[in-house]
């Protein structure tokens, strides 16, 4: 289970961020999105989001001194209660997909398996891992 990311198809429209922020905050507030599109014109953007199964070794899991990151139902997730906001996971994430906000580490949780962002992506830059396989 996971996200298939094809950065070459991304047009930087940010519908994924809009959808994610609506899920997180109930309003369009891009800062609350757990996926971030970072432009680098004329090059391709960076898509900052957890790759789940496609991330080799899951360095965030081992980095966490509070053992608050682990696998649950096939997803790598952060346990908010256990998180001490130290930022160790943020530092090791190869995809810049983790942010610390209000002393908690935040990242994509794939909306529990039915990601809101994928539905919005018209170019296929984001696809559902299971469908793709």
């Amino acid at each position: 289970m996971g996200l298939v990311v094809d950065v070459g198809s991304c047009t930087e429209c940010k519908r994924c961020m809009i959808a994610c922020s609506l899920v997180r905050s109930g309003s369009v507030r891009l800062g609350s999105s757990r996926i971030e599109i970072q432009p680098d014109w004329p090059e391709l953007p960076e898509i900052r989001v957890c790759r789940f199964e496609d991330c080799e070794g899951h360095p965030c899991v081992g980095s966490c001194p509070a053992s608050a990151i682990g696998e649950s139902d096939g997803l790598i997730l952060i346990d908010a209660e256990g998180c001490i906001g130290c930022g160790a996971c943020e530092a090791v994430c190869p995809y810049d997909a983790i942010r610390i906000q209000e002393e908690k580490a935040l990242k994509c949780d794939l909306c529990g398996g039915d990601p809101a962002c994928v539905v919005e992506c018209v170019t296929g830059a984001l696809r559902d891992g299971e469908v793709a396989e």
Partner: protein
């Protein structure tokens, strides 16, 4: 209930280095947002007779009830000011991300007035404004100004900036916002007159909707329509999605309506070396979308500069492909890209700048104009790039050309005005009025000069309306003008309306902001705004004589596919009379008091002719 409107506008006086929050009063709220707010506020606060480059002119950036929401194709920002190019009220639009960011500041708009003593950067964080020095980037390009602002103050600012052309008051200077531009009308020169080199906007607020569930359903429905439209390879949005806005160029060429060699011909033999499909295959590297837009008509491209360097740029858009391509007999996509890039770096509108260059080349070939160091001929890339440099630096002949096509022609004299393809000093867009009579009427009557955004182009180019006929075009045009003004209160993308049932707009507005309005009321608002703009222009001194096409339109278009199309002067005047009459205006194009009362704007009347003339005389003697 919290909706998508904040009812707050940020007012910034750059002369006094002060800012304040203004609660939008009910009489302004009745204008919905965007263009409505801009036109209403400018009409109330700026003297139409004033100098557009004086501190008294104001520049408004406004957004609407759908901006910053998940509704697709509402990324644009509306800019309203008095134009230094046309002397009319101006509305100009840029897509990208600036508009949503204004919304994320918890604002429905920004009003800038006054003039700074030193070059300034405006940094807006929510409702806080900082005035920072800009000396370090005076004389620098739009791109350098943007990069400096982001590097110095934060990469997360969304920006707009001016280049050397705006600093030097070039009449067609634009304001550039990252990958998009406020092209039309010289807004860059207005910013320059206020010594604002760049503006950065960064917001932290969320945009909520009044009825989230209803809004979510409506957006899902709209996205469904747009998904189908972008997948339809024969539909316009499908073509724009696949090839950018230049994708329709072969169609226009085939209809003999592609302005070529300063509107001498209606088709260009080199079209397939500069159009959207050519760029898609050879130069475009990336598809770029505005905020939340599934159509992604924007493009980035790489090209070889005339000096052999590998360069990149944004666009070019269809209007630029005409302005720096067919209309200059330039069939070299790299040279076109370089001109596009130069225009962007200097910060000028490629459209009216290209139209001015086309006029200059025609005058040069007729022996009426020359410039040391340049061989001014159509199809010569060095001539085009040389004139572009001179316009933007106001060197040599460029100083005259920098005033726009009509003003340059008036200065040159020698029967050159008839070949300046403009209305109110704004260049003709990439559609030939002789081939498309309704579009000709649209150019003539537009409140911002030679405007194609409110023209029956789709109906004429597709053949749904007989393109060469004058019959019934006035009524069709009026509906288009009112409709587009209505959707511009939401700052909808013009392309959105191509595939959207009008009744969807009030539904979206109600679910987003809680404001209940019917489409008929929105269309009536569009008409009210059109009349307010017209009144502003009349008060500024424009007359029926400004609603006129240049004399070249009376000569046949050359080339087989254009079928020797002409504008017949008497038929055109009849069509203009019909237009005025259907608008409820008198024979001089002055809105009748009954019409103003019907629209609820009686207070804006010009009064009787006698009163006006007495006022004008008093003004002159005083």
């Amino acid at each position: 209930m919290t909706g998508s409107m904040f009812d707050r506008i940020l007012r910034i006086d750059v002369g006094k280095r002060q800012s304040s929050l203004w609660t939008v009063p009910d009489e302004v709220r009745a204008y919905l947002g965007g263009l409505g707010y801009g036109v209403k506020i400018l009409s109330d606060e700026v003297d139409p007779r004033g100098d557009p480059l004086s501190p008294d002119n104001k520049l408004l950036l406004t957004v609407g009830p759908l901006t910053g929401t998940s509704a697709p194709m509402h990324a644009q920002t509306c800019l309203v000011t008095k134009s230094p190019l046309t002397g009319t009220i101006l509305n100009s639009y840029a897509g990208g991300f600036l508009g949503p960011e204004i919304k994320f500041c918890g604002l429905d708009g920004i009003v800038v007035e006054g003039a700074a003593e030193e070059w300034t950067l405006l940094l807006i964080d929510d409702e806080t404004v900082r005035f920072e020095p800009a000396e370090a980037i005076v004389g620098k390009t739009t791109e350098e100004a943007e990069a400096y602002l982001k590097a110095t103050y934060g990469a997360d600012y969304r920006t707009m900036s001016i280049g050397p052309a705006g600093e030097r008051a070039v009449a067609m200077a634009g304001a550039f916002s990252e990958t998009r531009a406020f092209g039309r009308g010289g807004a860059g020169a207005v910013l320059g007159s206020k010594r604002i080199k760049a503006i950065g906007v960064r917001g932290s607020c969320g945009v909520a909707t009044a009825d989230p569930e209803a809004f979510r359903m409506l957006v899902a429905e709209t996205m469904g329509v747009l998904r189908s439209a972008r997948a339809d390879e024969f539909g316009l949005l499908g073509i724009f999605s696949k090839y950018g806005t230049g994708g329709g160029m072969p169609l226009v060429d085939g209809r003999g309506a592609l302005p070529t060699k300063n509107h001498t011909y209606g088709s260009f033999e080199g079209v397939d070396r500069i159009d959207g499909p050519f760029y898609e295959e050879n130069l475009y590297t990336r598809r770029i979308a505005c905020f939340g837009c599934p159509v992604h008509c924007g493009r980035l491209h790489r090209f070889a500069g005339t000096d052999g360097r590998a360069l990149w740029g944004r666009g070019p858009e269809y209007e630029t492909m005409f302005a720096f391509g067919s209309n200059l007999l330039n069939g070299d996509a790299d040279a076109l890209a370089e001109a596009n890039r130069l225009a962007e770096l200097y910060g000028v509108d490629s459209l009216t700048t290209g139209v001015t260059i086309a006029w200059a080349l025609e005058m040069a070939e007729a022996g009426k104009l020359s410039e040391p160091g340049l061989d001014l001929r159509f199809g010569d890339a060095d001539a085009v790039l040389g004139l572009l440099h001179r316009i933007c630096t106001r060197e040599g002949i460029g100083d005259m050309l920098a005033r726009g096509p009509r003003e340059a022609a008036l200065e040159l004299g020698n029967d050159s005005i008839g070949s300046a393809m403009q209305v109110k000093n704004a260049g003709f867009a990439a559609w030939m009025p002789r081939r498309m009579k309704g579009t000709g009427l649209a150019y003539a009557t537009s409140n911002r000069g030679a405007c194609h955004k409110r023209a029956p182009i789709g109906a004429e180019i597709s053949g749904a309306l007989d393109m060469d006929s004058y019959e019934g075009k006035a009524a069709v045009l009026i509906e288009v003008q009112n409709t587009v003004n209505a959707i511009f209160t939401l700052v909808s993308c013009r392309f959105h309306e191509f595939v959207t049932d009008h009744d969807v707009y009030p539904e979206l507005v109600a679910a987003a902001s809680g404001c209940k309005v019917s489409w008929d009321e929105m269309a009536a608002l569009g008409e009210r705004i059109w009349n307010l703009e017209k009144l502003f222009n009349l008060k500024a001194g424009l007359t029926r004589d400004d609603d006129v096409l240049p004399a070249k339109c009376l000569e046949p278009v050359l080339g087989e596919s254009s079928q020797s199309a002409v504008i017949e002067a008497d038929r055109f005047e009849e069509m203009l009379d019909e237009y005025y009459s259907l608008r409820g205006w008198d024979a001089e194009g002055i809105p009748r008091d009954e019409k103003l009362e019907e629209l609820g704007i009686a207070a804006y009347t010009l009064g009787s002719r006698a009163t006006r003339e007495a006022g004008a005389t008093e003004e002159e003697s005083g």
